[in-house]
């Protein structure tokens, strides 16, 4: 499936790779303090936040992975962009984001640490930080492979180019540069992606022609839901595990997603930014799922092992000169916008939750700004060294994803109870989180041992979430409640009624 980017296409890609860091570098001038670096000086408006969230959310792997998934399983892949995102975004915008923003925190683990205790904060930091490092390794490996396959650049040089392009503006410009470049990247992604889908649909006779061809090949491929006994995407797992747990956990607890809203210039911008992200998110299936179905209609010979080639096949066979470069730039945009956000958020987590808490507690503002920049550069370098692990130990990356999925149900449970129920206390939070993880781990290995393969992660998410809710509730009711003073500004009832709390939080939000 070789695609050679040459001529005008090559020029478009190179121009894109030069323009993005130049644009991001411009925002260095606004970074004078750690708040400027980690939270963009709290000056981001809602529309930049919304675009940046989606830029962070969509990676190049999503293009190939979702298209490959649609090729293999059909239309049901849209759940990851629709019911697996939109209700959770509404939940996050209305319930979680305002509390994070008002609490004046830099990270989600910091909020959990304030609500429960430092142990919860530490566990969450290690978990999310570790997951981000794994993700970065994958991103850099993918970028090296893409530049090697399509532009003939040796793999190591491809990764170094990505590191320089992203590093230039992320290290110096912080969150502001990341968010602003994300907006440009989203535009490139959507223009390139839509062009490809429109051309593809024209080739297969429009949507009805596509549905007809796909249904003739696989009668169930145009069904939105798959049967209860489906081995990969049974509908109860999709509804309960994805929509009710995994998706809210991702959109409400993921630092890389939430950090943009913490940099909002007002509470309303934070909420509206998150809500606005749902709009482009709804169109993502047009960029990813539909090309996978188009590839199936036109070229049904791909095997289960190489279905990720569905998207490259469409690029290679349908696009004219010029547009290939644009779509490849869209690919790179998806990748870079995920890399810069993940690097920035990983640096924020380790600086604020580890360095400021356990290494230098009373450093100056300039000191933490310098540490943030060093951490950002360090994560980029670390990711380059970790990236080749993809080739030699792919199981490690699977393990990284597995680890996160074991935690996400219990994490959502304690966060939800922490915000909604003032009776949830420190003991309940710690035992609920650990108990929920014990349940998810037991389910994973228990079913593996008994049935020869582990239970679907969607079901693990659901059952461990329920376990986290029940355990946190029981332990909290059996132990002493936390004093109200400790909960001010962190729990639902206490933020809506108490005027003193509002003033305190407003001062904290202003950095007074």
């Amino acid at each position: 499936m070789e695609i050679n980017i040459t001529g005008i296409d090559f020029f478009i890609v190179v121009a894109y790779l030069v323009a993005i860091p130049c644009f991001g570098f411009y925002f260095k001038r606004y970074v004078k303090s750690e708040k400027d670096f980690f939270l963009a000086g709290r000056m981001l408006p809602w529309w930049i936040i919304g675009f940046s969230i989606i830029g962070t959310n969509i990676g190049a792997n999503d293009f190939c992975g979702a298209a490959g998934g649609a090729y293999r399983f059909g239309l049901n892949q849209v759940h990851f962009e629709w019911m697996g995102a939109i209700p959770a975004i509404v939940l996050s915008a209305l319930l979680f984001v305002p509390y994070f923003w008002r609490a004046g925190v830099y990270t989600v683990p910091e909020f959990l640490g304030r609500r429960y205790n430092p142990f919860v904060r530490l566990v969450q930091t290690i978990l999310w930080g570790g997951f981000m490092i794994f993700m970065l390794g994958q991103f850099f490996w993918a970028s090296g492979l893409m530049l090697e396959e399509y532009m003939g650049i040796p793999l190591v040089y491809g990764m170094l180019i990505t590191a320089v392009v992203v590093g230039l503006y992320t290290v110096l410009g912080g969150l502001a540069a990341v968010a602003m470049t994300d907006v440009v990247q989203i535009l490139v992604m959507f223009v390139g992606g839509f062009s490809l889908t429109i051309l593809g649909l024209m080739c297969v006779g429009g949507w009805s022609g596509l549905a007809e061809k796909v249904t003739a090949l696989h009668p169930n491929h145009m069904n939105l839901f798959l049967p209860v006994d489906h081995p990969v995407y049974p509908w109860p797992g999709v509804v309960l595990g994805l929509c009710f747990v995994a998706s809210p956990a991702w959109w409400c607890c993921n630092q890389a997603i939430i950090q943009r809203t913490l940099g909002a210039k007002s509470e309303w911008d934070a909420k509206a930014g998150m809500m606005f992200a749902a709009l482009p998110k709804m169109f993502v299936p047009i960029l990813t799922t539909v090309p996978g179905l188009i590839a199936l209609a036109l070229y049904p010979e791909l095997t289960a092992e190489n279905m990720d080639k569905a998207y490259p096949w469409v690029i290679k066979n349908l696009l004219p000169t010029g547009l290939t470069g644009l779509v490849f730039a869209a690919f790179l945009a998806a990748l870079l916008s995920s890399v810069d956000s993940t690097v920035n958020s990983a640096a924020t987590l380790f600086t604020k939750d580890i360095y400021c808490e356990y290494i230098v507690r009373k450093g100056s503002d300039r000191h933490y700004l310098l540490v943030g920049r060093i951490m950002t550069a360090a994560f980029i370098i670390l990711a380059i060294f970790i990236a080749p692990v993809n080739k030699y130990f792919p199981g490690l990356f699977v393990a990284g994803g597995t680890m996160l999925s074991l935690f996400q149900g219990p994490t959502l449970a304690i966060l939800l109870l922490g915000i909604y129920w003032r009776r949830a206390n420190k003991a309940g939070g710690v035992v609920g989180m650990l108990g929920g993880v014990a349940v998810s781990t037991g389910l994973y290995f228990g079913t593996w041992r008994a049935l020869g393969e582990p239970i679907s992660f969607m079901y693990i998410s659901w059952w461990s979430f329920l376990a986290g809710l029940v355990i946190t509730t029981i332990v909290s009711l059996l132990t002493k409640p936390q004093p109200v003073e400790e909960l001010q500004g962190l729990v639902y009832g206490l933020i809506m009624k108490d005027e003193n709390v509002q003033e305190t939080l407003a001062d904290r939000a202003k950095g007074d």
Binding site: P87, M222, L224, G237, S266
Partner: protein, 79 residues
Amino acid sequence: MGGWLKSMLYFEWLVGTHINLASYVMVVVFVFTALWAWTFKRDYIFEGAPSQHRWRDIRIWAVILLAVQTVLYVHFGIK
């Protein structure tokens, strides 16, 4: 692993139900979420907003987003 336990963990007891049930459940979720959005008071919604124009009411945004989702799931999901 006991048959009843596997049936419960994997929701096998739902085998035999019509596939449309999934779409109906999702429509209920969308409608419920839209109604839930309106439980938040106006002051809370507009906190920090430069003006109180109707378009800044993010409860309306939520309803529009969820209405589109409902239409999509009814159109593509119910056979």
